[in-house]
Amino acid sequence: MKVEMNGEVIDLVAGSTLDDLCRLLALPKKSAVISVNGEVVRKSEYGSYVVPDSSKIEVMVFVGGG
């Protein structure tokens, strides 16, 4: 299936969870905030959250400093 992540279309195996997405793209999930179709998903739910087909995903990865 295809999903859109930060404006780019990517292929994802149907049934993939957000944990699968993080592994696939080597995203540092402890530093990230992710929303799917406008709703921010908690990290504790990444393992069970199945990404719907044609989703719009937004990923922001923070860097330290402050």
Binding site: K30, S31, V33, S35, V40, K43, M60, F62, V63, G64
Partner: protein, 193 residues
């Protein structure tokens, strides 16, 4: 400049009273904001004095306690609520549920992610954070971008990490940009209630 009492009575929540949070609190007070809620679980250390507002005599005291003293010495009429505790998704609601703006002023990437995620999922107000403010020199212009449908305002280039160091000019400039974002959020709300 808006002159309505409700504008400056907006309750601003701040998590983190380090380089960003301590400077932001002082700036907001000087701008006229009169209601602040600040949470932090750290104590003042000598290494903080190069970029945070604390005084040498406050080393060893909780940062929220030291910051409250400075703020109230500056402007005794400020309504300031402090919480000496670590904030997470389980306890963010109670201290910050009545805030009109919430500002994440934590330091590490993991803390920022944790706090911003909690704020965006639990609180019902705009959220401001900083990411990419590292470097020894003050950027000519610190950028502000909007994420997650405009609910999150991000100060910084989202790339320059604290691996580059976080010098006083840069962190104070970033705190000023956070203060400007708070002001803009309140201004936009007033123009389009």
């Amino acid at each position: 400049m808006p002159t309505t009492a409700s504008f400056y009575a907006t309750r601003v929540g701040i998590v983190g009273a380090g380089g960003l949070g301590s400077n932001l609190a002082i700036l907001l007070c000087r701008m006229g904001f009169s209601r602040l809620v600040i949470a932090d679980y750290d104590i003042v250390e000598p290494s903080n004095l190069n970029r945070q507002v604390y005084l040498y005599k406050q080393v060893g005291r909780p940062k929220v306690e030291a910051l409250a003293q400075i703020v109230l010495d500056l402007l005794p009429e400020i309504e300031l609520l402090t919480h000496f505790q670590k904030i997470d998704e389980r306890n963010i609601a109670r201290p910050f549920e009545n805030c009109g703006v919430f500002v994440d002023c934590t330091d590490s990437a993991q803390n920022k992610s944790r706090i911003v995620e909690a704020a965006l999922t639990v609180l019902d107000c705009p959220v401001v954070s900083a990411s990419g403010i590292g470097g020894r020199l003050t950027p000519a212009k610190i950028s502000c971008s909007h994420r997650f449908g405009g609910r999150l305002w991000v100060i910084g280039d989202q790339q320059s990490s604290d691996c580059l160091g976080v010098a006083a000019p840069a962190v104070i400039a970033a705190a000023s940009a956070l203060a400007e974002a708070v002001y803009d959020i309140c201004r936009l709300r007033q123009e389009s209630p």
